[in-house]
């Protein structure tokens, strides 16, 4: 065990930091749940990719740097430290990207990954359906094979940023006679195909973060199938592992929030200390974010040496989502009577974006499989407790 960075890792960090210092926009971009903000973020992705920082773990021929997971963690640390924009294509690069690496044909990788990296193709997910939320095996949207096409009919929901996305990846029932997790296929769908209708679903804050996607005889070429027909469940489980696991929520994000919380506490210490539990919650935020970082490095070191992501995907999901909620609740406690004000309110003072973050944190324990489902998985798969 050796917990010191190598010279190569330190040099990599220095290079990332230098580029970000020179290139991160000085003004924060608008929310990517607005049309203008979405375009700004797409442009930022192109710029990032121009510096070959779009997805550092990808091979050089795909615009990456062949970085390993520890280097990826270092990149993320610097990215969050620099206050760089949120990744509008996170569903693409963090979820579909690794899945394509594992299951895609050479042709598919060459076709999809570079355009994903430049931000030319922004991806959304097509997993959930009205009757299939946490229970993905209940999917009913069909993809009927018709010559060299699949013909899709049905409805997907809770698709983040589907309103502006170029492509959708998701699971569809290719065998109409199949049940549960059999007979499903993982298919990539161009959002401009005729027969697709997108209806935005306003979120808690009123912005259209989610959407429903309706499919009416949508014809998709058969080469958009990822993995084998009828084996979509296996492909999707890999993606879900990435979502709950390492990639979607890098520790740096929560360490950044914890550091901001410490700063907020210190700036409002007199008021905050009226409630003696606040200081404790602030310290705990640092400890938990630190534990999440340490544990992620530990997992990364295991994966680097041939290990597979497994049940830690579920412990991760619970840990970061509840940490995120606690940190934002603590921030609102510190803000007291000002906590309810939006940042643009004239008397809001320095409330920052804690309220927005608090609302967003409410979804963390729900998406990518509710925390109740994750606890079932931990009990049954990790601890070996019996199913009912």
């Amino acid at each position: 065990m050796n917990l010191e960075y190598t010279d190569k890792q330190n040099a990599f960090r220095a290079e990332v930091r230098a580029w970000l210092t020179a290139n991160v926009p000085s003004e924060p971009l608008k929310s990517f749940d607005t049309e203008e903000g979405f375009q700004q973020h797409r442009e930022w992705e192109a710029k990032l990719n121009g510096g070959r920082w779009g997805m550092v773990t990808w091979p050089e021929e795909l615009g990456g740097r062949g970085a390993d997971l520890v280097e990826w963690l270092i990149f993320e640390e610097e990215y969050w430290r620099a206050g760089a924009p949120l990744r509008v294509n996170q569903n693409g690069i963090f979820l579909l990207g690794p899945t394509l690496m594992e299951y895609g044909t050479a042709e598919q990788k060459a076709r999809f990954l570079p355009r994903m990296a430049t931000g030319e193709d922004v991806w959304c997910q097509g997993w959930s359906e009205p009757g299939a939320g946490s229970d993905m095996a209940a999917i009913r949207t069909t993809a009927r094979r018709d010559g060299d096409h699949y013909v899709i009919n049905g409805q997907k929901t809770w698709s983040t940023r589907a309103v502006w996305a170029d492509w959708c990846f998701g699971m569809f029932r290719t065998d109409p006679a199949s049940e549960r997790h059999h007979g499903l296929s993982f298919i990539l769908v161009p959002m401009k195909t005729p027969g697709i209708t997108v209806r935005p679903i306003p979120q808690l804050d009123g912005l259209p973060g989610f959407a429903e996607i309706f499919f009416d005889e949508v014809r998709v070429p058969a080469d958009c199938l990822l993995g084998d027909e009828g084996k979509g469940w296996k492909v999707a489980m890999a993606t879900a592992g990435f979502e709950r696991g390492l990639m979607l929520r890098s520790p740096a994000r929560f360490q950044q929030t914890a550091a901001r919380l410490v700063a907020l506490y210190k700036a409002n210490r007199e008021s905050a200390d009226r409630d003696p539990t606040v200081r404790d919650a602030v310290i705990r935020a640092w400890m938990d974010a630190e534990a999440y970082c340490l544990t992620t490095y530990q997992t990364a070191c295991r994966l680097l040496n041939g290990g597979k992501i497994a049940d830690e995907a579920s412990t991760n999901k619970i840990f970061w989502s509840e940490l995120d909620q606690r940190m934002h609740e603590t921030a609102l406690s510190i803000l007291g009577a000002r906590a309810e004000l939006w940042p643009h309110a004239p008397d809001a003072g320095e409330v920052g974006n804690w309220l927005d973050g608090f609302l967003f944190s409410q979804s963390g324990s729900i998406y990518a499989g509710t925390n109740e489902i994750q606890r079932n998985i931990i009990a049954q798969r990790m601890l070996g407790m019996p199913r009912a």
């Binding site: 959930s128 009757g131 299939a132 939320g133 946490s134 229970d135 209940a138 929901t157 809770w158 679903i201 306003p202 979120q203 808690l204 009123g206 989610f210 008021s271 905050a272 009226r274 409630d275 606040v278 909620q325 609102l332 406690s333 007291g336 009577a337 000002r338 906590a339 309810e340 004000l341 939006w342 643009h344 309110a345 004239p346 008397d347 809001a348 309220l355 609302l359 409410q362 979804s363 324990s365 729900i366 998406y367 509710t370 925390n371 109740e372 606890r375 079932n376």
Partner: protein
Amino acid sequence: MDFRFTEDQQLLAEGARDFLRAELSTERLRALWASPTGRDDALWAQLAELGLTGLLVPEEHGGLGLGDIEMVSVAEACGHVALPEPLLDTAMIAAAMLRDAGNAALAAEWLPRIAEGTARIAVGHCVNPLVADAHVADLLLLPQGDAIFAVPREGVSLTANESLDPSRRLFRVDVAPGAGSLLASGDKARQLLAAALDRGALAAAAQALGVAQRLIDLSVAYTRDRKQFGQVVGSFQAVQHLMANVAVKLEYAKAPVQRAASEIARSTSRAALSASHAKLVACEAASLAARNSIQVHGAMGYTWEVDVHIFAKRAWVLESAWGDRAFHKLRVADAVLADGAAIGPGTTF
């Protein structure tokens, strides 16, 4: 010693509850959000007609001459529908201030208008950095130095501040120097402001009870229908326990709220402690209800179109209205940890 409401008290409470549930659907609430003031004069008139605006107004001024014990059931009903109107600020907090100030002229001018529903009143207080509903108030009661002034809306200028809860309309109030009439000063003003704070906390606590109950109602109804893994969601033990935890918290917040009403109505030395206790536990129940209700709604809980967020937001903003958690914890700590504090068995009543 009797914790039960009298028959009259029950009838009044049921009347208010039935009226509000019938009138204030979430559709109407959403329509109000989209309106310029967010308030509805017709609804206000109906509240007056039911006697609710004049509940605390003495009979000689045209009111019902009732007290905080009756008002607390109305406040709970307001929470259950997330009423946006300033009923509690006007008819509970301001009415009590005007009633108790010993200023006959202002009382005679404004109490009848409160009772008949032709005046909404906003109240400024140092624990609230902004004033709620100042934009529709006919009169504002504003502390200045060691006095309280009654200022008509024409005498102030307002700056709107947008809140998380679209029902909340909050304003910074700037007052023209010398505007309005003196309501009270010195000790009397301090007493009135202390009582206003306790009533404000009590009103928030009682609303929080109603909000928590509504969130339970919505969640139970939703999880009874929604299926996952071939089973209705509400039959999963984990989902049941999320809601049972809310029910326990709510159950043990109710009696403290009633006790606070009783102490405030009698202006006892324990009114402040009781109000803080009630507000802390009731808001905690509502906040837990918000969190767990969103959770059991799954992704639906995170949307604008499903009603759960209306009440979750109300729960969250009640946390810091009329004294945030830290403020009330400090008051309880000061009382409980004081030398010679009366605590332990036999000290409750």
